[in-house]
C-alpha cells in the first residue's frame, strides 16, 4: 500500500513551492503501485534539482523516485548500463570512474538522477564533443500516463518525446545508456583568464578539449564586460594531490547583504585575480571538476529565504551581439550573483523539447525579487528574438507564448502525450503555467 503524505516541495531555486500529496517508493513494484494510485494529477520528482516548477505539482500528487537508485546491469566490455530512475549521476561516476567508465554526460551537479537527466535532456561541459544526455540513452522503459508499460528505442517518437519532455509522457521505470570510457577518474584542468567576451568567444572556438566551461564575472561592465575564467579539461589517470572532499553544509539561510552589488563585485574581482595572468594547470578529481558546487551541500541557501532564479538561455553561434546585449543588461542591473557561466554548445540534442542547440549558452543567478523577474523576462525575450531558447529545467518565469517559439516540434510532442496519456494525468505547475500539453489548457 502506497503511503502518501502532505509535503511542501520546492524547486532548487526555492522561489517556487508546491503543496502536494507525495509518495516516495523504494521498490520497483511500489513505484508502479504509487503511479497507478496517484489519481488524475501526477508529477514526478527526482533529486529536486530543477530550479523552477518543472517537478512541482500544487494540489496534485507527486511521486518521488530518488530512492529507486539501483544499477540493474552493467556490461564491462561495452560500458552499457541499465539503472533505476533515481540513480544519481555522481554516484555512477564515483563507482564506475575508478574502473574507467564515466556517465556520458554530467550536468553541473552530481545529485541529478538519470530519469531527471533524460527528462531534461541535460548537457555538460563536454556538450560540444559528446552531445546531450539523451543521445547516449539506448532504451527507456516507460510507464505512461495511461498506465501502460512501454519499452522505447531511440527511433520511437515516444522516446523523442520522453527525452527532454519534462516528465509529461510518463514515469521512467528504468533506462539503458552507454557510459563513456575515460583515461581515469581525474581531470587535467587548464584555467586561463579571459579579459573580455571577445577573448572568451575566440578561446571557446579554438578549444579542442573534451570539457570546457567559462565562469563569467557578471558584475563586470564596459571594457571588461564578459571577462572571466575559461576552464578546459581532459580525463586522466594521473594522481591528484587534491582529495575528494566531503560536502560541507550551509547551516542556515544567508542574510541578503551577501549578494549586494558591492559584495558581488569585490568577490568576483578576487575570484578572477586568483588565477595567475599566464594561467595554471593542475590535476583534480574528475568529480570535483564536473560538480564544483557539490562541495557545498544545500548551496541554494546562500540566496536566503526568498530563494533565487537561475536564468539560462542559448543563442545561435552567430548571435554574439545578442549574447553581448544579454550579458550587458545582466551586468548593468547590479542584480547578478557571482554564479554566471558561459559555454559553447554543439548541435547535439535527442528530444522534441530539448534545450541544447548549437550556439552560446549563458547562465546567471539572480535573487528572487520583482526586479529580477522583470529583468529575466527581458533577457529571455532577447534570447528568443535571436532564435534561441530558455532552459525549462531552470525556468520559473517564461510566458506560455515562448514555448512554440522555442520548440518547433511542440505539436508533435503534444500528439505523443495525447496518445500515451489520453486523460492528461501527467502534469506539473510548469506544464500548466506554460500550457505545454495544449494551447488552451488552464
Amino acid at each position: 500500500m502506497t503511503v502518501w503524505r502532505d509535503a511542501a516541495l520546492t524547486g532548487w531555486g526555492r522561489a517556487l513551492r508546491a503543496s502536494t500529496r507525495a509518495a516516495r517508493p523504494e521498490r520497483a513494484n511500489q513505484l508502479i503501485e504509487a503511479l497507478d494510485a496517484a489519481g488524475p494529477s501526477l508529477c514526478l520528482y527526482g533529486a529536486g534539482r530543477s530550479y523552477g516548477d518543472a517537478a512541482l505539482n500544487s494540489g496534485g500528487a507527486t511521486v518521488i523516485t530518488s530512492r529507486l537508485d539501483r544499477v540493474l546491469a552493467f556490461d564491462e566490455e561495452t560500458g552499457e548500463i541499465e539503472v533505476e530512475p533515481g540513480a544519481a549521476i555522481g554516484g555512477l561516476l564515483r563507482d564506475f570512474g575508478p574502473r574507467g567508465w564515466a556517465p556520458p554526460v554530467a550536468p553541473g551537479t552530481g545529485f541529478v538522477t538519470v530519469a531527471g537527466a533524460i527528462a531534461n535532456d541535460v548537457h555538460g561541459k563536454n556538450h560540444h564533443a559528446d552531445g546531450s544526455f539523451g543521445q547516449h540513452v539506448t532504451q527507456i522503459t516507460l510507464r505512461t500516463g495511461g498506465g501502460e508499460t512501454l519499452t522505447l528505442q531511440p527511433e520511437d517518437e515516444a522516446f523523442r518525446a520522453t527525452v527532454g519532455g519534462v516528465g509529461l509522457t510518463g514515469a521512467i521505470l528504468s533506462a539503458r545508456l552507454r557510459m563513456r570510457p575515460i583515461a581515469g577518474d581525474k581531470a587535467f584542468v587548464r584555467e586561463r583568464r579571459m579579459p573580455s567576451l571577445d577573448a572568451f568567444i575566440e578561446a571557446f572556438t579554438e578549444s579542442d578539449r573534451r570539457y570546457s566551461v567559462g565562469w563569467v564575472d557578471a558584475a563586470a561592465t564596459g571594457a571588461t564586460l564578459g571577462r572571466g575564467i575559461l576552464e578546459e579539461g581532459e580525463s586522466t589517470g594521473e594522481p591528484s594531490r587534491e582529495r575528494a572532499r566531503r560536502a560541507r553544509a550551509i547551516p542556515f539561510d544567508a542574510p541578503p547583504f551577501l549578494l549586494s552589488a558591492s559584495v558581488v563585485r569585490a568577490f568576483n574581482a578576487a575570484y578572477y585575480a586568483r588565477i595567475p595572468k599566464d594561467g595554471r594547470t593542475r590535476v583534480r578529481p574528475l568529480s570535483a571538476f564536473l560538480f564544483p558546487l557539490d562541495a557545498l551541500a544545500d548551496w541554494n541557501r546562500l540566496y536566503g529565504k526568498r530563494g533565487f532564479h537561475q536564468f539560462q538561455c542559448v543563442v545561435p553561434p552567430d548571435a554574439t551581439e545578442s549574447l553581448r546585449a544579454i550579458l550587458a543588461e545582466a551586468a548593468g542591473s547590479g542584480l547578478a550573483s557571482p554564479l554566471a557561466v558561459l559555454k559553447r554548445l554543439g548541435p547535439g540534442s535527442a528530444g522534441m523539447l530539448s534545450f541544447p542547440m548549437e550556439g552560446w549558452t549563458l547562465t546567471v543567478d539572480f535573487p528572487a525579487a520583482q526586479a529580477s523577474a522583470d529583468l529575466i523576462g527581458r533577457l529571455g525575450a532577447t534570447a528568443l528574438d535571436a532564435g534561441g531558447r530558455v532552459y525549462l529545467a531552470k525556468d520559473a518565469l517564461l510566458p506560455p507564448s515562448a514555448v512554440p517559439r522555442m520548440h518547433p516540434e511542440l505539436d508533435a510532442f503534444r500528439a505523443v502525450c495525447d496518445r500515451l496519456d489520453p486523460e492528461g494525468r501527467m502534469t506539473s505547475d510548469m506544464a500548466r503555467r506554460l500550457r505545454i500539453r495544449r494551447a488552451a489548457d488552464g
Binding site: V3, A7, R27, R70, D95
Partner: protein, 247 residues
Amino acid sequence: MAERETWIILGATSSIARAFARLAAADGADLLLAGRDEADLERACGDLRARYGAKAEVFLFDAREPGDSRALAEAAAARPGTLNVAVFLGSMPEQTAIDVDPDLAAGVIADNFSGVVSALHRLAPLLEERGDGVVVGVGSVAGDRGRLKHYVYGASKAGFHAYLSGLRNRLARKGAHALTVKPGFVDTAMTWGEKAKPLMISPEAAAADIMRAAKRRQDVLYTPWFWRWIMGVVQLIPERVFKRLSF
C-alpha cells in the same frame, strides 16, 4: 581483513540496510542479503555486483519462521572466513492499531526481537568458533523508555538491546563483537508516513556512522550522536512526570 569476509544482512530491503550493504561491498566483502521480498533483494544484489563487483546472494528469510533461522545458520556455516551479521529487521505498526487488535503485538515482537534473537543465537556459535566477526544490531531510541506512542515497538527494541548487551559480553570472550545501534530519526520509508521530523538524517549518513562504529568495535552507537544526550535527558525524567507526557 581475513582471507574472505561476509556480511549477512537481515532485513536487507530497508534503506539503511541498502546503504550499509553498499559500504560493505565497496570494502570488498561478500554479501548475503536476507529478507522476504525476493524480487527486490535480487535487484539489490545486482546493484552490488554491478557497482562493486561484489559476490552478493539472496537468502529468503522471514523472522516469523523458526525454520528460516536454522537454514540461515547452515548457509552461514558453509562460508569461509570472517562472518559479520547486521540486523536491520523491524516493523512498527501504529500503537493505536495494536490497541485495536492486540494480536498484532506478537508480530511486532517477532520482527524486532524474538525472530531476530533466534537467528542471532544460531549464528553466535559460528562467530565464537572463528574468533572474529561483528554483530550489528539496530535497535531504536524508542527502546530506551516506553512512550505512549510506540510502547509495544519500544518494548521489543528494549528487549533486543538487553539481548545485544548479553551477546556482546559472550562474544567478547572469544574475540568477536556486538554493536548496539540506536538510531534517532532517519529519513526512511518507516518515518515517511509520519509528520516531518526535526534533526532527520539520511539513510546513507546513518549507514556510514554504523559502519564506522562496527570497524572501531564500539559498544553502543546513537546515530546521529546527539541522541545519546536527548535520551539521557528523557531517561532522567521522573516516572510520575513522564506518565503524564505524550510525545
